[in-house]
Amino acid sequence: MIRDALEIAKKDLLIEVRSKVLLNQLLPFVAVVLILFGFAVGTENRTLVDISPGIFWVIAFLSALLAIQRSFSIEAENQAKDGLLAYGLEPGGIFLGKVASIFFECIVVEVFLGLGVVFVYGMRLNSVALLVVSAAFATLGVASVGTLFGALAAATKVRETLLPLLVLPSTAPVLLAVTKAWEDGISSRIGIGDPWLGLLVVFGLIYLAIGLVSFGSVLED
């Protein structure tokens, strides 16, 4: 299973390297949204810092959505998904591979976004450990749910619009939790022992488990 996962992840990242979607398009997209939000929230610099975790994560989730969409549009063209099935790869492996590549792409975006938030919005980082770990688990959760629903939506002919509808509400708790954890991390109220982080870990693992178990049925549908 791990081997299958590695193959899938490697292939997806190779396609990414070839088509450079992330580099050429996703990062500028992130920058645009960052600026729009900044402008919308307005001139009081105080507020901006306060709500920057929220903005960070809304943007991060939106770009995760794009990454997921892209990941499954790769499989949709020429019905490559049928190919994956025909190869007899383990569904669990396909799932993990997709999660891994999406996770990796999201992390790249988040690092970039983080730099933006720190330098442009002037966000301070106090408990870096908390920020990093909670970000990792939140991303894991989103990537898992996204992969699961991405496969579901990809089977239909309307994935562009079905996917956000499925992914956004089911990741809303993760979004809220990670925002809270980041607020704590910034104000350094609590360190790595933050209960929000615990919640994120639980979410991330549950979503991962659900995906692993049910991905087979989804793929074959």
Partner: protein
Amino acid sequence: MKNGKFWVGLLAVVALIGVALTYWLGLFVTPPDVIQGQLVRLLYIHPSVAWVAYLAYGVTSVGSILYLWKRTRSLKWDRLAAASAEVGVVFTALTLITGSIWGRPTWHVWWTWDARLTTTALLFLLYLGYLALRKVPAPRDKVAVRASVAGLVAFIDVPIVHQSVVWWKTLHQSATVFNASLSPKVHGEMAWTMLVSFISFTLVYLWMTIKRYQIETNIDEFDNLEVEAAIAERLQEVDELVNSKTSSGTRDADPRDGGSIS
């Protein structure tokens, strides 16, 4: 050709002298401002840099229009648009940087969500997007068409940036130099220094754009050479192929002679 090189060289020299003059006038000749103190010296860089960015994007959109218009369609306009946009992006970045540097002491922040600042940042991104679009691989003429359309649409942001101070009534300095009556509200040696700085940065722009244009031309020429080489190579293969077909007696098979029958 040689002559062209000379003029470009001369342009570089003049531009350099202009910049040096601006530097000297700005730092040593003009007095500090009553309110802003030494900070006012940024006045000799920041507005002219912003102006050059506008100019660059203006040239890009003219190039784009000329490319899109069927009767003047020529890749040279596209190259000009590309070269100018690239220089424009550099100058927009400089505007942002010098503005930030100015903002730190005057507004006590590096960045704020003022309308002009925001629209300038958008401008920067729009043209980054333009450059990214150029990088999407496609045949040369298709790249040119796509880029021209994007370049044209992007330019709409320029008047918005300019007008933003009026429309949103913001923190940022409103038009002191490019106001409707075109009567600068600064006087004396300050005005002179600003004029020198405008001219010399414009010359710098010209020089950079010409250089960049030449590079674009070289790249296109190089591509053409590659194409020629590929064609020549293939022609050779084809000759062999044709010879073998002819000897096997299919029929008269010079591909150049497709029109006749044996």
